[in-house]
Amino acid sequence: MYAIYKYKAGASSSNILSDLVALITGETVVSNLSSDCDQVNTSITSVVAPTWVLYEQISATRAILRAPYSDNASLYKYIEVYASSFGIMLFGYDSWDIATDTYNWKTQNTSSSTYDQGFDLTNGGLFHVFAGPNHTAIAAEESGNFGGNYNGLLLASEYTRDLSNNNNTMQSFCIIDTGTSLNGGDFAFPVVSPDKTGNLINTAAYVTSKSSGFDSWFDGNSFATAFILNGSDSEFELSPIYIGNASTYGHPIGNISEKSDVWCLPTNSLPNKQYFIYNTSNYISMYAYKSIGDIICFALRSE
């Protein structure tokens, strides 16, 4: 599901939260969204169906959603969609007790505005909202700004169980602040994972790809910086996104792309919000990182 969700000037954060939750949990009719939604300029494309359901509406600005794991239908991943004073945030949990509003493990990103996708309630703005069975992603666009840190987006995704001590009774889910991650920081937050000694921890991880270290995205000897010209056609690879922290976990923790269908494009290749077709599926490029002279876009399903 991909929605371009536009909210009006003077919108309330609670209505925005309510609408985003509706979109992530499968709403396909724009007219069912709140009165703060600019319904004329909002669109929902829902070829890829999310499986998220609202698990608890804690308050007007906090909602817990859950979806089953791709390899265990009775095990759930939980996210909180939170409307702060500044914008929308996502947190991950291993469990959620509705009676007590408690959990065992939570992702380490805090409610600091560092991690939000901002909104402009005074003037209005929009959110790009993506959701599938194993992920959701949000990118803000308001007041001339795009995204969060380094213009990146928030991605909540299941990942493949690449650690030999991670089995399908365990959590395999994380929240990624893509901008700070692609700037070389450890800003991929697993809900909880075994470390290499078997202890359960939620130590932050780095974002990498095949043959690219966490801080070498713009080194042409490490990561693709352009398309391939094959005859008259330009071709490129959608590079898989991995998370890992070698000294803590001992091996890349998992592959995000196989679960979310979100991929990394070559650096400085497609511009932001470029629609394209890859292997017969529809994608859109979206800033995952932008700084002076350097851009990395992720490719997300636009349907």
Binding site: P194, S209, K210, G220, A246, G250
Partner: protein, 307 residues
């Protein structure tokens, strides 16, 4: 196939003949030459050696073997095993070999004595041989010597997956690797040929590439923050197996391919394993053997099937 071939003297013709026999399917050490130390030699062929002779008279103590690509039964890979420059064993890949004129097409241009496997000129020694239809690996060993002079480098010719759109099944997908060079962040991979991202076909030094694994840049294999290092690098006692990618983005944009799934060769964390120790892969329960591929402060190892 894993063979630990022991020789008693540097009789190069016999050694070449025995390596040829082992690569082309000999499983009985008693059929090897008089130079073979049959008491200590062993051949484990759980996986067939997989190569066939193409030119047994390619040069002085030199022969060429071939094997088809995994996805193209009539598209052969050619490997040259050359014992003409004493006391070395030289390994090369080529696109094709004229067995009448004894000449190659697009032979890989690796050619440093520091990469060659060494034979003892003063007595007995060992040649470790690993092979399947997809690859050949050679390591020379004798008292005080392991691999090539460059940090104990191992010589490999490997088939790699076809990661690039210009690499159809009619194209060679085969490269030489000198392992130690890769650990130190240099161009260790010699594909037979490839096409740049501008579509220009390149061979020789222009085709060279790096090897690495997920999340690790070409120059960071020795850094713990990128690739695990040390005796505590096991995951709850199990060795993590890392896939090996061949790549050079400035030339090819995307990885050329990976060798691990095709060749069943993997990278182990630095400094975790002991040379020639066996290790059971917790994912598939198969037994592998750790072979030192980089002899430095922290030892690098590749994992090959133990047979």
């Amino acid at each position: 196939m894993r063979a630990e071939y022991h020789y008693t003297t540097n009789t190069y013709a016999d050694i070449a003949s025995d390596i040829q026999a082992i690569l082309t399917g000999e499983t009985d050490k008693n059929n090897l030459s008089a130079t073979c130390d049959k008491t200590n030699t062993f051949i484990i062929s759980t996986v067939a050696a997989g190569w066939q002779i193409h030119d047994a008279s390619a040069g002085t103590n030199t022969f060429v073997v071939k094997a088809p690509h995994i996805d193209a039964p009539t598209n052969y890979k050619y490997a040259i095993i050359d014992l003409s420059q004493n006391p070395y064993i030289k390994l090369h890949a080529c696109e094709s070999w004229d067995e009448i004129g004894h000449t190659p097409t697009n032979k890989t241009v690796n050619g440093s004595t520091s990469e060659y496997q060494r034979i003892n000129t003063a007595g007995a020694g060992i040649i470790h041989i690993f092979a399947s239809e997809r690859f050949i690996a050679l390591v020379g060993e004798y008292t005080g010597v392991w691999g090539g002079t460059e940090a104990g480098t191992v010589s490999l010719v490997v088939e790699y997956s076809r990661g690039a759109p210009w690499n159809p099944t009619t194209y060679p997908s085969f490269a030489f690797i000198k392992t130690a060079t890769g650990y130190s962040g240099n161009l260790a991979v010699y594909p037979i040929k490839g096409k740049t991202r501008a579509g220009v076909e390149v061979t020789g030094t222009n085709a060279q590439a790096y090897f690495t694994t997920i999340g690790v840049s070409y120059n960071n294999i020795r850094t713990d923050a990128y690739f695990p290092t040390g005796v505590d690098a096991a995951i709850e006692g199990n060795t993590p197996y890392f896939p090996i990618f061949l790549y050079r983005p400035v030339n090819y944009a995307i990885p050329l391919g990976q060798i691990s799934t095709i060749c069943d060769i993997w990278m182990a964390p630095m400094g975790l394993l002991t040379n020639k120790a066996t290790d059971t892969n917790s994912d598939n329960s198969n037994e592998y053997v750790a072979i030192m591929t980089y002899n430095s402060t922290y030892d690098g190892h590749f994992l090959f099937r133990n047979g």
